[in-house]
Amino acid sequence: MQRTISFTLNGKPVRVLTDDQRMLLWVLRCDLGLTGTKFGCGAALCGACTVIVEREAVRSCATPVGTVAGKRVVTIEGLARDGRLHPLQEAFLERHAFQCGFCTPGMIMNAYALLLRSPRPTREEILRAMEDNLCRCGSHPRIVQAIEEAAAKGGAR
């Protein structure tokens, strides 16, 4: 159904007049011009499109935009605040926890949701939480280390 959908995006109010069944990923990318959230599979299988809705990680390629009406959405573009990187971004940067970087926004957002619900996760918790985020370059060991380091520095924020 065509309607105006209002939500908070990276701390700012936005209004989009569109079909509420369209997926959030494409509204972010095509309508709102935020390209940090990536398309990898279109079926919630890879995690490249992960964003935060009300403190939880969701796959934006399978989230109808109508369902985020009135909610707070955070994308990779909204994670740094006042020009300062989030501890997770710092840790990914310092650890070089990426190669091609295409899965990185989804990895960071998924890890962010993990730290929001479990500020000091064990290694097993990290592995379980990240299991369905795919990386083809094989940065897995560094990603786990980066999440551990960010958690140690109070990464939930």
Partner: protein, 707 residues
């Protein structure tokens, strides 16, 4: 001076001959590139082609290589900064832009540092020497009294007498040319050998990194293209009436190309789904299980790759003969970024932003497809979301350019995951037949290695065996008879070599077991190459290898390989669940000698990445198909390695700066098949002859040996 037909100007290459040896590229390069290219222009010898010094002192480095994630943006900048004596932070990289960068054949084969590194260093050294000569005149000081630091040349006798590169050049080209400028010896390198922060790091952790599908242009349309259900299928009926009713959708048909375009990609997809199309497909004659006999039947005649001694003599000397047939299926590249491109045509100028490994060949292909002069086409390579060989082919960019012309609007093409599998240039399925003989003393005296389908790269044996022959029939690089493969094949990270190493190192292991020898000791017994011995000994030492005859029940294995000048040895430990056949890799130790190491941390990243990615082709990845129909459409059935698969990974970089820098992005991955097959054998005494080693195949192998 004339450039040689293989793209290297010998003089440039030899400019650094004090350090770098001439590498025989002849056998390597012609096979690498897409077919039907015009003659290669070759690398320019003028340093100005590779670097510009701005009025602010910043250095812009222009190279035709591209950043796929392998970190060459940083490593190449390190090489230039060192030879030019400027701060790494002062170097800005522009890569893979065909209007700005000097020609390059493409980014593959782990060649960016190995083969292009010397070219870039020579350019840096020549520019530095020219600037020094200019400064000597400007400061009226003898050359030997001058020193360079951070792009500023100073007179040692009078520190106030100084001039910067920027002042000397004043935003212009460096007109002075000097020949035969030596490169710095390894001991003088300051930036090379360190691990600075990657230049792409900030972009990639903030979401600012732009890939080809992130280019947004005013008026741009997203295209979705009608695809056949199988390779070889022919369109018989088409009804687009429902699709045309999607508000804002635009339909285009041009010969084989049927597309719907829309300002929103998801709405273009919706319209595509509304198209009614009937295709007629040829009968499916082969699948992932019958492909091996099919390959043997359809392959071109085998070619001898290498021969030594006399096989008949080897047979006579053999007390025991061991024969086996090693198989591996098709494997997909499966980069997280699907093939993407954005095209714009303005005033006759075609500009295409593409995720590609081959921007210069692509420029020619686009010119050909649109029938415009090549100088009217510019390919700009954005960040590329993983390549692994799969983005050497860039069909999507040609589609975007064609659609931009047909619609008169900028057009973006981003394949979905099913298209990515369908048009992938898979690692070919292959069969390797090996017949080897041991004499009474436990030495290999016979080696007959016949590879079919994979290609001959590194097929030749490096163990000391008196009577040996290696043959190869068909391969990843083309020249295969029609019908041999049901779809496209191409380079997949370390092409040929994953297959050849799996077969060789599995068979060596089987021979060691037959001889009652420890797998490491048995290999060393047949190795005289000092660099290979060193990596094997280093891997075994770090692993804490305790000699034993396999199967020892511990689940440990080793494998050695050579890849285009890089030596790599690996030891691994697995645990195996006998009830399910599931393998968990506990630990992988990798020792590598890649000569001069430009960026140690970047090299380790490549080694770790190779190990993680290699778990896939070893344990789970295999493209299933029925004739030309590719059954893999997404990551639910095509399982790539995940966090829970992660072994403890340890990397050992051999310090060998006097040897030329060879590649590091591909070598380690070649060992994964054999090192895990050998570890599985060590664990349970069953040898897996086919990759991937899925739980079903492991259970079947366990049953076959009654364990």
């Amino acid at each position: 001076m004339k450039s040689d037909p293989h793209g290297l100007d010998r003089r440039e290459f030899l400019a650094g001959s004090g350090l770098f040896i001439l590498i025989p590229l002849e056998e390597l390069l012609p096979a690498q590139e897409p077919a039907r290219l015009p003659a290669r222009p070759g690398y320019p010898s003028d340093p100005n082609a590779y670097l510009r010094i701005g009025p602010d002192g910043r250095v812009t480095c222009l190279v035709g290589k591209v950043e796929l994630g392998q970190g060459s943006t940083t490593a190449l900048a390190q090489l230039l900064a060192d030879e030019l004596d400027v701060a790494l932070e002062a170097v800005d990289m522009i890569m893979g832009d065909t209007d700005q960068c000097p020609w390059d054949m493409g980014t593959f084969g782990s060649l960016s540092i190995r083969q292009f590194g010397p070219v870039l260093r020579a350019a840096g050294a020549q520019a530095r020497a020219a600037l020094l000569a200019m400064a000597a005149e400007r400061l009226a000081a003898p050359l030997e009294r001058l020193e360079v630091n951070g792009g500023v040349i100073a007179d040692r006798a009078d520190a106030d007498r100084r001039v910067s590169y920027a002042e000397l050049v004043q935003g212009k080209r460096i007109e002075r040319r000097l020949e035969n400028v030596p490169l710095k010896p390894p001991s003088a390198l300051r930036v090379v050998g360190r691990s600075p922060r990657r230049k792409d790091a900030l972009d990639k952790v903030t979401g600012r990194a732009r890939y080809a599908g992130d280019i947004l242009l005013p008026g741009m349309l997203h295209a979705r293209i009608l695809r056949p259900p199988a390779h070889g299928a022919v369109l018989k009926q088409l009804d687009v009436s429902a699709a045309e009713k999607t508000p804002g959708a635009r339909l285009v048909r041009d010969g084989d190309l049927v597309a719907v375009l829309h300002e929103r990609r998801d709405l273009a997809e919706q319209a595509l789904q509304a198209i009614q199309a009937r295709f007629e497909r040829p009968p499916a004659e082969v699948d992932e299980d019958t492909i091996f006999d099919h390959l043997l039947k359809f392959a071109p005649p085998a070619r001898v790759v290498h021969e030594a001694g006399d096989l008949a003599q080897g047979e006579k000397l053999s007390a025991a003969i061991l024969e086996a047939r090693y198989l591996n299926g098709y494997v997909a590249h499966a980069a997280l970024e699907t093939h993407s491109a954005t095209a714009r045509i303005e005033g006759g100028k075609v500009t295409v932003w593409a995720g590609t490994q081959t921007p210069f060949p692509l420029k020619q292909q686009i010119a050909q497809a649109l029938n415009v002069p090549a100088e009217n086409v510019r390919v700009i390579t954005t960040y590329v979301g993983g390549g692994f060989g799969g983005k050497s082919a860039s069909r999507q960019a040609i589609e975007a350019a064609r659609l931009a012309r047909l619609t008169g609007r900028p057009v973006q093409v981003v394949w979905d995951r099913a298209e990515e599998f369908f048009y992938d240039t898979f690692r070919p399925a292959a069969v390797v037949r090996v017949r080897a003989g041991l004499d009474g003393g436990g030495r290999i005296v016979l080696w007959d290695f016949q590879v079919c389908g994979a290609g001959d790269r590194e097929a030749r044996q490096f163990y000391d065996i008196p009577h040996q022959r290696t043959t190869s029939a068909g391969g990843w690089s083309g020249g295969n008879p029609a019908g041999m493969h049901p779809f496209a094949v191409g380079p997949w990270r370390a092409p040929s070599v994953n297959t050849n190493t799996f077969a060789r190192e599995s068979h060596i292991d089987a021979l060691a077991a037959r001889a009652g020898a420890d797998p490491v000791e048995f290999r060393l017994r047949h190795l005289s190459d000092a660099r290979m011995r060193r990596v094997l000994e280093a891997a075994a030492a770090r692993f804490g290898w305790k000699p034993a005859r396999a199967p020892s029940g511990r689940g440990v294995g080793v494998s050695c390989a050579l890849y285009l000048g890089t030596y790599v040895a690996m030891a691994a430990e697995v645990s195996l669940e006998r009830t399910t056949g599931r393998v968990q890799v506990r630990r992988v130790v990798c020792a590598q000698d890649q000569g001069l190491v430009v960026n140690p941390d970047g090299s380790r990243q490549q080694m770790e990445g190779s190990i993680m990615m290699g778990l896939g082709y070893a344990l789970s990845e295999e493209v299933r198909f029925r004739g030309g129909e590719v059954l893999e459409r997404n990551f639910d059935t095509y399982r790539i390695p995940r966090f829970s698969w992660m072994p403890r990974i340890e990397t050992v970089l051999i310090d060998n700066p006097e040897a030329p820098a060879s590649g590091c992005g591909e070598p380690p991955i070649v060992n994964l098949g054999a090192v895990l097959a050998n570890a599985v054998f060590d664990a349970v005494g069953a040898r897996l002859l086919r990759l991937p080693m899925t739980p079903e195949r492991i259970l079947a192998a366990l049953n076959a040996v009654g364990r």
